[in-house]
């Protein structure tokens, strides 16, 4: 064996176990989902693949014939376009605010803000906070101070259901990106701030815009990916807090719609896979788009 082949062999041996398992449990499922999305598959019988003249049947049915899909798509997009940007800015602002604190205090404050996403399961408590009867904390509070006289049906009234999910998702969103921003802020070269002060930077906002943000571009990019991915994957929270289906599908998301078709009694796996492929494409597409925009923005700035 040549020297070079030997060198490669050890590299492949080390990446091998991870990459093989990753291929089996992530790459292959993506392929399976795409392939089955062009079929009728009900688990009992082998999948019937579509011929050329009805090749896109599942996708056509989604967009032309499935009103609940369109509602779920709308909810998912609405949800992502609200929670994505807000959570991103919140991660950045809170990280930036606490960066001025001393290291000891900052450590504890970091824990306080990160705790909800650390113990993600505790979101069940929001079910009791947003109880629709007058036993709920929010209703109790609002009634005591006279904002409302009757309890609001937070988790049942279609005007509020999506909002409840958004609030809870925001509560859970100071996560990995938040930590990355804290680290990015600590990484900024301190002498830049001194130079900036001499160059006439007067307040913290100018400093943030001209010095801090350009110095942590790479973290900003990473954080964007993490927050976008999370914003499009919402389903479990809505299902647990509002229910599946939610009243008039007001808080249904694509993940929930996919599960609806995959599970009993429908077992329309080909169709469910088409939903998965749509969501997959949207998530990847938006991620790439935002990445391009951030790159262009950072080049201009």
């Amino acid at each position: 064996m040549s020297e070079k082949a030997k060198k490669y062999a050890i590299s492949y041996a080390m990446v091998g176990p991870f990459m093989i398992l990753f291929a089996i449990f992530t790459v292959v499922p993506v392929i399976i989902a795409i392939v089955y999305s062009f079929s009728n598959y009900n688990v009992m019988q082998p999948p019937q693949f579509f011929s050329l003249n009805n090749f896109f049947d599942n996708y056509l049915r989604l967009f032309l014939d499935d009103e609940v899909f369109l509602i779920s798509l709308r909810n998912t997009m609405l949800f992502a376009f609200i929670t994505g940007p807000i959570s991103y800015v919140a991660c950045l602002l809170v990280a930036w605010f606490i960066n001025d604190l001393g290291p000891k205090v900052r450590a504890w404050v970091t824990l306080l803000f990160y705790a909800p996403s650390l113990s993600a399961n505790v979101y069940f408590i929001w079910q009791f906070i947003f109880s629709s009867d007058s036993n709920g904390l929010v209703n109790t509070f609002l009634m005591r101070f006279g904002f409302i006289t009757e309890p609001v049906l937070w988790r049942h009234d279609t005007r509020y259901t999506l909002m409840v999910v958004i609030v809870v998702q925001l509560w859970l969103s100071l996560g990995t990106a938040f930590l990355a921003f804290i680290a990015g802020l600590q990484n900024v070269d301190k002498t830049l701030y001194e130079a900036g002060a001499i160059d006439g930077i007067k307040n913290r906002w100018q400093e943030l815009y001209h010095i801090t943000l350009p110095s942590m571009k790479e973290q900003l990019m990473f954080g964007a990916v993490i927050q976008i991915t999370a914003a499009f994957a919402v389903g479990t929270i809505s299902q647990e807090l509002i229910g599946r289906p939610s009243p008039l599908y007001s808080a249904n998301t694509l993940i929930m719609h996919m599960e609806d078709y995959a599970l009993a009694p429908r077992f329309e796996l080909g169709y469910a896979c088409a939903i998965a492929v749509v969501l997959f494409s949207i998530t990847l597409g938006i991620n790439q788009l935002v990445r391009k925009l951030l790159q262009r923005g950072s080049k201009d700035g």
Binding site: M14, S119, T176, G184, G235
Partner: protein, 291 residues
């Protein structure tokens, strides 16, 4: 004059008093929003029945009791599985999955960061691509796979996908890139094999990163009820988050016990974060995406 000028250089110059006030005010509001549900859960866990059912409800506990903890075995008695079993199962899969993930990611990150071999770039791009969608999207094909492998109702179906979470490999690779090549070269010249270099030089240098992977992996597996719901049917193999759902169905009378499980679920990830925080922040400094 010189003294005044000096005082204006540095961070103080850009921090007005009113701005500081605004920042503290905003921080307090967000802190209250973040902390209130956690504090409420802990308070509920220690409330006696009378306070749990009181109308209108109170936020803080007045006469704390441990009754709800003792009541747990009653709350799950109809599932025929002792409560301690759920705790054990949760720890078991979290620890095994974390150990597997950290080992595989540490092994794979080294060649990705420091070797030059065909396919390296593509592999890493695929890893980054995988960060851009949630694995929850893949539940259907994964389920079909696990059925084919005969892994339904088996922990394998939970552990193997959890071991190859890409965030961990990504962070580890980014961190390893900072290791100085001359240190690795020196070890190689001394005759160390790549595996020895990995074990004796690389691993000690990436301690912050593998502690970070421990945190993220443990937290991820510990908190995620989805794969357990999907694959596990035997009650005695289920985990703490499922016990929570189960007890919660008991409604208001079981609110205390539900809160106790919530409280128990909080402790391990928070404890690990307190122990590893400094290392985690250190690791995240190299988390940036370069292009």
């Amino acid at each position: 004059m010189g003294k005044l000028f000096k005082a204006r250089i540095g961070r103080k110059a850009t921090r007005s008093r009113m701005g500081n006030g605004l920042v503290v005010f905003l921080l307090l509001i967000i802190a209250a929003f973040m902390a209130a549900p956690m504090i409420y859960t802990i308070n509920l866990a220690f409330k006696p029945m009378g306070e749990l059912l009181r109308f209108p409800p109170t936020f803080f506990v007045q006469n704390p009791t441990l009754r709800n903890f003792a009541d747990l075995s009653n709350a799950v008695s109809s599932s025929l599985v002792p409560f301690s079993r759920y705790i054990f199962n949760s720890f078991f899969i979290s620890i095994v999955g974390t150990a597997g993930h950290v080992t595989l990611a540490c092994l794979a990150a080294f060649p990705l960061a420091k070797h030059n071999f065909p396919g390296r770039k593509i592999m890493f791009s695929v890893i980054v691509l995988a960060l851009m969608f949630s694995p929850i999207i893949l539940n259907i094909p994964r389920y079909l796979q696990m059925a084919r492998f005969g892994w339904l109702d088996s922990y394998f179906a939970i552990l193997f996908p959890a071991m190859v979470t890409t965030l961990g490999l990504y962070l580890m690779k980014q961190f390893m890139e900072q290791i100085n090549d001359s240190v690795l070269e020196a070890a190689r010249i001394d005759g160390a094999s790549e595996l020895k270099v990995w074990w004796h030089v690389v691993l000690p240098a990436v301690k912050p990163a593998y502690l970070t992977l421990v945190l993220f992996a443990f937290q991820g597996i510990w908190n995620d009820p989805t794969p357990v719901m999907l694959y596990i049917t035997t009650e005695s193999k289920k985990t703490l988050p499922l016990a929570l759902t189960y007890v919660m169905q008991g409604g208001l009378p079981r609110l205390g016990s539900t809160a106790v499980i919530g409280f128990l679920l909080m402790i391990p990830p928070i404890a690990i974060f307190i122990l590893t925080q400094r290392n985690v922040i250190e690791t995240m400094k190299s988390s940036g995406m370069k292009d």
